[in-house]
Each structure stands twice: as structure tokens, then as C-alpha cells.
Symmetry: C2
Subunit: 335 residues, 2 copies
């Protein structure tokens, strides 16, 4: 346990690709715990694609991260001091405490106590956390997978995509993943149980995808955008449904690629629905209960890439945006 | 009444812009009426944007028009001979009999008798026909207009757009049209009762549109695509809804423009739904009843551009694709 707080703050807003120099590592004293306050020592930080959007100054569904303040992010940690009746030292809690070792929380608002007996602490940042609920929301509220349907999932080995494909399978659909490289594709099929997976980096990607969706594509859980999106759209069936969850391939582009083949959305009567998991806090309890049950039963598997030490968070974040991680990207804050 | 049948057939499939030479005017004998058959003399032919798609050979929601066969299209006409108990000479009927003066219909299948006492015959090809039901379906089944919402409608003076905007108004929403030129815009506001209308041909189009949607855009009834779509998407509110009805500005482009700003669909959690009115034959009766009532009550107004003579159908069709018509484009087949 370090005697100081360490934060990663946003030093400047990036144009195009994020650089490590867009962040700053700052040390400060561990804050005193005032009346009603709870001090949390964060163990793990979640790194997620949405954070790239928060680095911009543009209006979006959430406030931009502030220059000089810690970057925003989900965390799992331990209560170390508490002046609130609701929390005691030793409680494990999930929160949104940002890229920092210690955080002070007034009355513990926004903290959720977790049990790590059946589900490991890190899963609360992944399959049984925001990414899992995102997959659950897109699949069960928008995509409607069922027997006879073919669901394609991009970023299929990632935190959201891996859960989305497994949920499609649980609901009886055929699940086809798209991922970067043979290693990830093998994992998606052999460990996660998808019916097939194709490598978007391959020169034969379009033909490879066509081959594994002989009955076309009914559902496309979209995480990436760009060339992958165009390739999938060309294979959509009538009345296909696209939960639009992310466009990670375009987040660092100064001139993002959108969708050329809009005509296919019209002629195939496709539903495309952008969604953000924080809009539907009402469904979180049901989703988390179901996800936790699946993880405990071994039906919902996941993999983690864990960077060691808060000072490596910026590099790990940039690596994730490039697809260098494998599964859910986390940072173990103190090593 | 001519003694011969005249048809406009598809001579070849266009690449890029349609030309008159893609069609052929063909004369033939008026067919004999066999057992159970009904002979209809068409009075009016409907010209609609979807016909451009049928001229292509590509797979779509409907079979392509066939080379050497009459172009497909909605018609209103009069039964002149009948060997079916269900129809008698003099009956006025709506059908899908194509670009021709006479058509023979086995057992009258697909023909609907109409009354022209309250609603004029041509309205059954417009406000109380396929275009009206299209507007009704997009607005009531997808867009959900209501008080407090701002609905923007492109091709606002056209057959579908004019009905869509008036339905939005009937449902309590604010309706803002987009049309080509001051004359159409004046008509949309002064005669159809939209709250505002902006000219997409103006150099200040984007600024003009922004000015008339001070609370952003909640609904975009899309008929045109291209630059107009990009301009609207930049002004969408969170949870906006886009019934995707047509992309007429791109139908003759060899490389159509899609949507650059897909990011806005994601961050604003927009629903975009392509739709085709023929998918929902179940809603036609209710829609036609409501539309007929609105027309009879003077709540749903429309304008028509009527080309005179079947031989002018190709030029009128090309003119419509360029926006030269004003309101619903029809052809009076015999003058």
C-alpha cells in the first residue's frame, strides 16, 4: 500500500491518435476523510473504448473529461476508511472513481458492495459489469437473437463482443465473430463457443465472412465501424437488426468513415439503433443477476488482459484502441 | 378512347441517370377478354421514385422490371369488359397494372373498387394510396410524432413528404419541411401548414435549417439522402428517430453517398429504420380509412403534377427524379 495517491490526469485533448503525452501522472497526498465520507483504495481500473470519446471536447451523451482532472473510469476497490454507516473498512466496492489509487466518496454515493466469493472482483468490471450489461442490453433489447437467426459480432474477443456472442448462443442463435488475428479467432470459437470467427485483417476477409454465413446475417452487434461494417452490411438479410454499440476503428480518425452502403439499410428494411448502457439503469439489476448466474454456471466465459501498475494505464489504453489487448483490458493499480 | 393498346416498356437497364431511350413506346392490339378475366382501361398512372430501383437488375425487396415488358406502376382506371362476377363495366378500380393503357386481369385479382364521390380518382394514387400509406406507416409506426417533438421531412412537397409532415402536425408535433426552391417551400408552409420549410438548394441551407429547429430535431422522415441527410444528422437530438423511406438523390449515382456521420447515430442513440410500405399490407385498411377521412375533412392536402399522354411518361419520370414535379407526379394516359 503506497503512502501517496497517484492519479492519471488528462493533460490535453488529442487530435487523431491518442498519445501517452496526452496524459500526466500526478502524485498527491491521500485525502483526509471528512464527515459522511468514504475512502476507497482502488485495486483495478477498467479501460474501455468509450473513454476515447470523453477525451474530446465535443458534446456527447456525457460530459467530457476535464483537463487536469483524473480520467474517468470504472473501478473496483476496497473501503479503507469510512465515516458512513453504510460502508465499513474491508468492503469491496464497484464505483466510477477514475484513473487514481484513492478516491473520496461523499456518503458512498455511487458505490456498490460486491461479493467476490463466486464471481472474482475483476469480473465486476467486465462480464458482470458495464461491458456485460452493454452486451446484454444490445442483444436482448435490440437484436432479439433466437433459433434460426445468424448473429455477427465484431470485436468478438473483447469484453462486450465476447459476452454479446455468448448471449446470442444462449438465446439459440448462431454466433459468428469477427476479430483481429488467428489467435483471437481460435479463442472465440474454441473457448467461447462461437460457431465461427473470421479475421478482419485477412486479405480474404469479405470472402471468409460470406462463407461462414450461408444464410446471410440477421443481427450485427456493431463495435468497430469502418471497413468491417461495410462488409457486414453487404450480407444483411431483410429485416436485419443492428445494435450500434461502438465504432472503435474510427474514434481516432480525424475524418471518420461512416457507412457508404446506406441503400442496403433501406432496401433490406434494417433497424439500426445506437445505444448507451447508462441510459437504461432500470435494466441493470436484472441484467447483472442474469450475467452473474451465467458466469457462476460457466456459461459466460471471458478473458482479461491486466496491465501492471497505474503508470502503465495510458499505454494500455492506447494498445486497447489498437486491438492489442485480448479480452477485457484492466489495470492492476498497485503491483 | 383509342382503338389500340399502348405500353411503355423497359428497353434497357440504365447505368447512372435514366434516359428516355431506356424506355420504348410499343403499340399492340387490345387483348381479348377470356374466361374470368377483367379488362381495365387505365386513366392515370402513378410515377414514383421506387421505380428507379426496379429498373436495376440487382436483388432488392421486389423483382426487377423485365426488359421488353411494361414498366411496373400503380394505376387507376375503369373496367371496360368483365367476365368476372365481381366487376362490372364502369367500375373504377385501383391496381398495379403498369405503364400501359389497357390491362387484362385474371379474376380481377389485385384490383380494388373505389368511390370517387368524396375523394377524387387521382388521390387513390397519392394521399389515399401507396404514398399516403407510406407516410402514415413511417410516421405512426416508426417516428412517433407528438407534442413537443420537432419533425423534419425531406422532399416535403412531394407525395410522401407532404403527407408525412401533415400527419406529424395532426399528431401534435412541429413540422419542418425541406424542399427544392422558394415556390415549393412557400407551398409547404402556406398551403400544407408546415411550421417552416427550408430550400436545400440554397447556399445557406445548413444555417437556414439550424435556425428553424431551435430545439433540435427529434424525427427525420428521410426521402432523399446525400448532403441533406448529413445536414440533418448534425442537428439530431438524443433518441431521435429516422424512418428511412427513400434516398432519391442517390438513386442515379454510380457511387452513392451514404452517411459520413455515423458517430452521431451512436452518441445520440438514434433509431434508424428502413421500411417498405408493401411489407405491412395488414395496416393498409386502417391507414387508408384514416387518410381518406383526413382528405375528405380538408386536413390532408396535396398537389398533383399531371403529364398529358402515356408517351410523355418517361420524360415525366426523369423530371420527377430531378425534382421538377410539384407534388404527386401522375400521367393522364389518354388526352
Amino acid at each position: 500500500m503506497t503512502a501517496k495517491n497517484v492519479k492519471v490526469t488528462l493533460a490535453r485533448r488529442p487530435t487523431g491518435w491518442v498519445q501517452e503525452s496526452d496524459f500526466r501522472i500526478v502524485e498527491s497526498a491521500i485525502p483526509d476523510v471528512g464527515s459522511g465520507q468514504v475512502l476507497v483504495r482502488n485495486h483495478f481500473l477498467s479501460l474501455d473504448p468509450y473513454m476515447r470519446g470523453r477525451m474530446n471536447d465535443s458534446a456527447s451523451y456525457a460530459e467530457p473529461a476535464k483537463i487536469g482532472e483524473p480520467m474517468v473510469g470504472g473501478t473496483v476497490g476496497e473501503v479503507v476508511k469510512s465515516n458512513s454507516e453504510k460502508f465499513s473498512p474491508g468492503d469491496m466496492v464497484v464505483g466510477f472513481l477514475g484513473w487514481q489509487l484513492y478516491a473520496l466518496v461523499d456518503r458512498g454515493i455511487g458505490l456498490t458492495k460486491i461479493s467476490t466469493k463466486v464471481v472474482p472482483a475483476t469480473a465486476y468490471l467486465g462480464a458482470v459489469g458495464m461491458p456485460g450489461v452493454t452486451a446484454w442490453m444490445g442483444m436482448t433489447q435490440i437484436a432479439e437473437p433466437k433459433e434460426g437467426k445468424t448473429a455477427v459480432i465484431s470485436a468478438a474477443s473483447g469484453a462486450v463482443g465476447s459476452a454479446a456472442g455468448q448471449i446470442a448462443k444462449i438465446k439459440g442463435a448462431r454466433a459468428v465473430g469477427i476479430a483481429g488475428g488467428k489467435k483471437k479467432c481460435d479463442y472465440v470459437v474454441e473457448e467461447l463457443g462461437f460457431d465461427a470467427c473470421v479475421d478482419y485483417r485477412s486479405e480474404t476477409f469479405a470472402a471468409d465472412l460470406k462463407k461462414v454465413v450461408p444464410r446471410g446475417i440477421d443481427i450485427y452487434f456493431e463495435n468497430v465501424g469502418g471497413k468491417v461494417l461495410e462488409t457486414v452490411v453487404a450480407l444483411l438479410n431483410p429485416f436485419a437488426r443492428i445494435p450500434l454499440c461502438g465504432l472503435i476503428s474510427q474514434y481516432n480518425e480525424v475524418r471518420p468513415h461512416g457507412l457508404d452502403n446506406l441503400q442496403a439499410i433501406l432496401t433490406n428494411r434494417v433497424l439500426m439503433q445506437g445505444f448507451i448502457v447508462s441510459d437504461r439503469l432500470d435494466i441493470w439489476p436484472a441484467a447483472l443477476t442474469e450475467l452473474g448466474g451465467w458466469v457462476a454456471a460457466g456459461k459466460l466465459k471471458y478473458r482479461e488482459t491486466i496491465a501492471q501498475g497505474i503508470e502503465h494505464a495510458p499505454a494500455a489504453f492506447i494498445g486497447m484502441l489498437k486491438g492489442e489487448n485480448f479480452g477485457k483490458q484492466l489495470v492492476k493499480l498497485v503491483v
